[in-house]
């Protein structure tokens, strides 16, 4: 029964383990997954703590529906106070870890304090053990799970772990499971490393009984039929999310050379068909997922012959491809090594792009790079070396893994322009995808509660040119059908960010929701998933309110810990100052208009019930029942 799932609080400083039930009140307010995770993070992270200190908490939250019969109910949220942004650390991964955690009887794991020696958690059927991990320290993210499975004698154990990047407290370190599922962003692996937590191993044999088993099964079939009848599900099952790449490159919506160029001319060897012919082994899927959008690849010849890994994904393809590679191999090696060391590909590539532009412009030279020639033409050969240096914090690698704010701080002594060339929002680097042409995308990354992030609120529907009456019905107000317009986009972005928050609370995969198509499941379907699997009844409005509550709580955390206000809800200056050079006529010349953006931001704050600085008004907090949270929302002059 999903309602019986527990919270385990592990204090590594005192080796203390506490197990708590989840009261229904918490379900009604925060649902589960990222929602209850945000509540736990808000309350367990000591205010003002050093993100690398024992006062921080690493909170792993499987979704409320993860492990149940809901389609693709595989997702897990991981968060805490981010060492990269100092704000809300938040990341999400698929695979099989979350479901196994639920079968072991737990929905949330809160890791506090810090161990003096490397440890891993062994969670099995209601029990939590802290085990010695000194023999695992120094091992990569592929070896660690295999060693743990062998020593515990069970091939079905699921493991999430850090690589050497996390052990070395590289800020951009991530927490991973399986071959390539990754909670990549905001430095989750760095938090774990600071606690000397190498891994979490889970194994579960417990029932997760649906409240109405027959109906849960029948409805799952109905939902799966609805999902699989869409073009996007079919395309993703064959091409993964890389099916998007040709569309965005043709339009001119990709960023190369740090955003100086927005289209790759020689794309022919970067189609997914080219990948299939040379490297593809097959497709695999996450728990309970019929779409199976994950590729497997093997490199057969050349210096990297024998490498077997997962990928591509659209995000990592644009990240590793942003250095102008015209064939797949440097990309495959790039993310494979990033997975091995446990480094966030999005954030790392973002900062490396920035540093390479500094080198291009002569702002830094070989004295800074440790003798390495960081010209763009060298980039693809250098990526493996730079990744290793980053994981080991050696040479230029010590700077590349610091996160955008760290890079700016280290290199600003060479020029005050450094800040312009390291693109970030709130300290988090961005996807190698243009935001200049779409005001909704720009607003999304500017206001995302974890920094420059496309998954918080990316209204992909904005590109579908849907009729305005359809949009009005969906969003409850006027939204322009033109992706280049600012009209109504504040409403659109707000709707998507709250909706995706609900998805992250449920633990189903975003790709099987309204993220990709208006014909994919949304509130109506989720209410049914919830009722049949958990027995709890929610209305669509109640779910939307939960999304709003969780999102606002994250915003409050950001203000409390990092002082984020309106000044931080901005896009990189390049998006405003430099019109796009290439691309289709509809895209060429696009850039964000500062005044229009500010007006859109005002509308966005108003819709949220926040003041002009982007802080929740007292009546909003009261309406969302957040005035009862230990609230550190102290405004100057209050």
């Amino acid at each position: 029964m999903p309602l019986k799932s527990k919270i385990a609080i592990i204090d590594l400083s005192n080796n203390k383990i506490t197990i708590e039930p989840i009261p229904e009140r918490l379900r009604r307010l925060y649902l589960g997954g990222r929602g209850i995770g945000a509540h736990l993070i808000y309350n367990h992270v000591e205010p003002g703590t050093d993100p690398l200190g024992p006062g921080n908490a690493l909170v792993i939250s499987a979704g409320f529906l993860t492990g149940t019969m809901a389609p693709a109910a595989a997702r897990t949220h991981i968060g805490g106070k981010s060492p990269v942004t100092n704000g809300f650390g938040s990341s999400n991964m698929g695979g099989f870890f979350g479901a196994e955690l639920k079968f072991a009887g737990f929905e949330h794991i809160v890791v506090k304090g810090a161990s003096s020696k490397p440890v891993y958690l062994w969670i099995h059927d209601g029990e939590v053990e802290i085990k010695d991990a000194s023999h695992l320290w120094g091992k990569d993210t592929f070896e660690t799970p295999q060693i743990i499975r062998e020593e515990l004698g069970d091939e079905e154990i699921k493991v999430a772990c850090i690589g050497i990047a996390g052990e070395n407290l590289v800020k951009l370190a991530n927490f991973r499971t399986g071959l390539k599922n990754t909670a990549g962003r905001t430095g989750t692996g760095c938090i774990a490393g600071s606690k000397k937590l190498k891994a979490i191993a889970v194994r579960g044999h417990q029932d997760l009984k649906p409240a109405y088993p027959k109906e849960a099964l029948e409805y799952a079939k109905k939902a799966i039929d609805q999902i699989m009848s869409t073009k996007v599900a079919k395309a993703m099952g064959v091409d993964g999310t890389s099916y998007i790449w040709n569309v965005t490159n043709t339009s001119g919506l990709l960023e190369f050379y740090n955003g100086q160029v927005n289209k790759l001319k020689d794309w022919q060897n970067l189609t997914i068909e080219a990948f299939d012919e040379k490297y593809k082994v097959g497709m695999v899927g996450c728990f309970n997922c019929t779409v199976h959008c994950s590729h497997l690849f093997r490199i057969k010849d050349g210096p990297w012959a024998g490498t077997f890994g997962g990928g591509p994904e659209y995000n990592t393809q644009t990240a590793m491809g942003s250095f102008g590679a015209d064939n797949w191999e440097p990309l495959l090696i790039g993310w494979h090594l990033a997975n091995k060391y446990g480094i966030d590909t999005t954030g790392w590539c973002n900062d490396v792009r920035g540093v390479m532009e500094l080198y291009q412009r002569g702002i830094i030279d070989k004295k800074v790079t440790g003798g390495l020639d960081l010209s763009w033409s060298n980039a693809n050969q250098l990526i493996p070396i730079l990744l290793e240096l980053t994981a080991k914090k050696e040479g230029i690698g010590a700077i590349l893994g610091l996160g955008s704010l760290g890079v700016i701080k280290e290199l600003s002594k060479y020029s005050k322009d450094v800040e312009y060339y390291i693109l970030h929002v709130k300290g988090l680097g961005k996807l190698g995808n243009v935001d200049r042409a779409q005001p909704s995308f720009a607003l999304g990354i500017a206001t995302s509660t974890r920094g420059a992030d496309h998954l918080r609120s990316r209204p992909a529907l904005d590109h579908f040119h849907l009729p305005e009456d359809v949009l009005k019905k969906l969003y409850g107000g006027y939204v322009s059908g033109d992706f280049r317009s600012y009209d109504g986009k504040a409403r659109m972005v707000r709707w998507h960010e709250l909706t995706y928050t609900v998805v992250d609370c449920l633990g189903t995969c975003k790709f099987q929701t309204v993220f990709f198509s208006p014909n994919l499941p949304a509130y109506k379907e989720w209410c049914k998933y919830l009722f049949y699997n958990t027995g709890l009844e929610f209305t669509e409005e109640e779910l939307f309110d939960i999304g709003e509550r969780v999102y606002t709580l994250e915003r409050m955390f950001n203000y409390r810990e990092a002082g984020f206000t309106r000044k931080d809800d901005r896009v990189p200056e390049r998006c405003i100052k430099e019109p796009l050079k290439y691309g289709l006529p509809a895209i060429r010349g696009a850039h964000i208009d500062r005044e229009k953006f500010n007006k859109m931001l005002d509308e966005y704050y108003e819709l949220h019930g926040w003041d002009k600085e982007g802080l929740p008004l007292p009546e909003t907090l009261k309406r969302l029942e957040l005035d009862k949270e230990p609230s550190f929302l102290i405004r100057k002059g209050d």
Binding site: M69, D207, P213, V284, F308
Partner: protein, 163 residues
Amino acid sequence: MEKMILVDYTKCTGCRLCETVCSVTNAGTCNPARARIKIIRWEWDQGFQVPTLCQQCDEAACIGVCPVKALSRDSGMGVVKLNPSLCIGCKLCLQTCPFGAISYDFVKKELIKCQFCDGDPACVKFCETKALQFVDVSDAHLRKKRSLGEQVLMAIGRAEEAL
């Protein structure tokens, strides 16, 4: 006509939806540990997953070893049936089966095996890639032959385009 669940491991993506629907259908709960089907996976260097099931053997070792005749073969559907009311839980069948097809449900405290969900296997219904198909034994091999035929056709088609 006897049936079989035909496994095509090349199509399996390892999603385990078959395990969860099996456990919901047969044990009334979502718990892959209580499923009658299991996906075995080599994830680190092969990317290979194999669905494993009871093979409903014509001369089943489990039937031979059962001391209380709780196991018998229903040649109508071609399924080896386990009668829980006769079973004493000695687990000799679990040990003897060469395929590990019989497992122990630790909640209901009984031996369990695939029995085709009374003629409408849930795993087959939900398998999106058709790695699992419920077919007549007489025709089972034909599907594989058709697969081969399609590959030959594609190869010829490609060759014709190149010329």
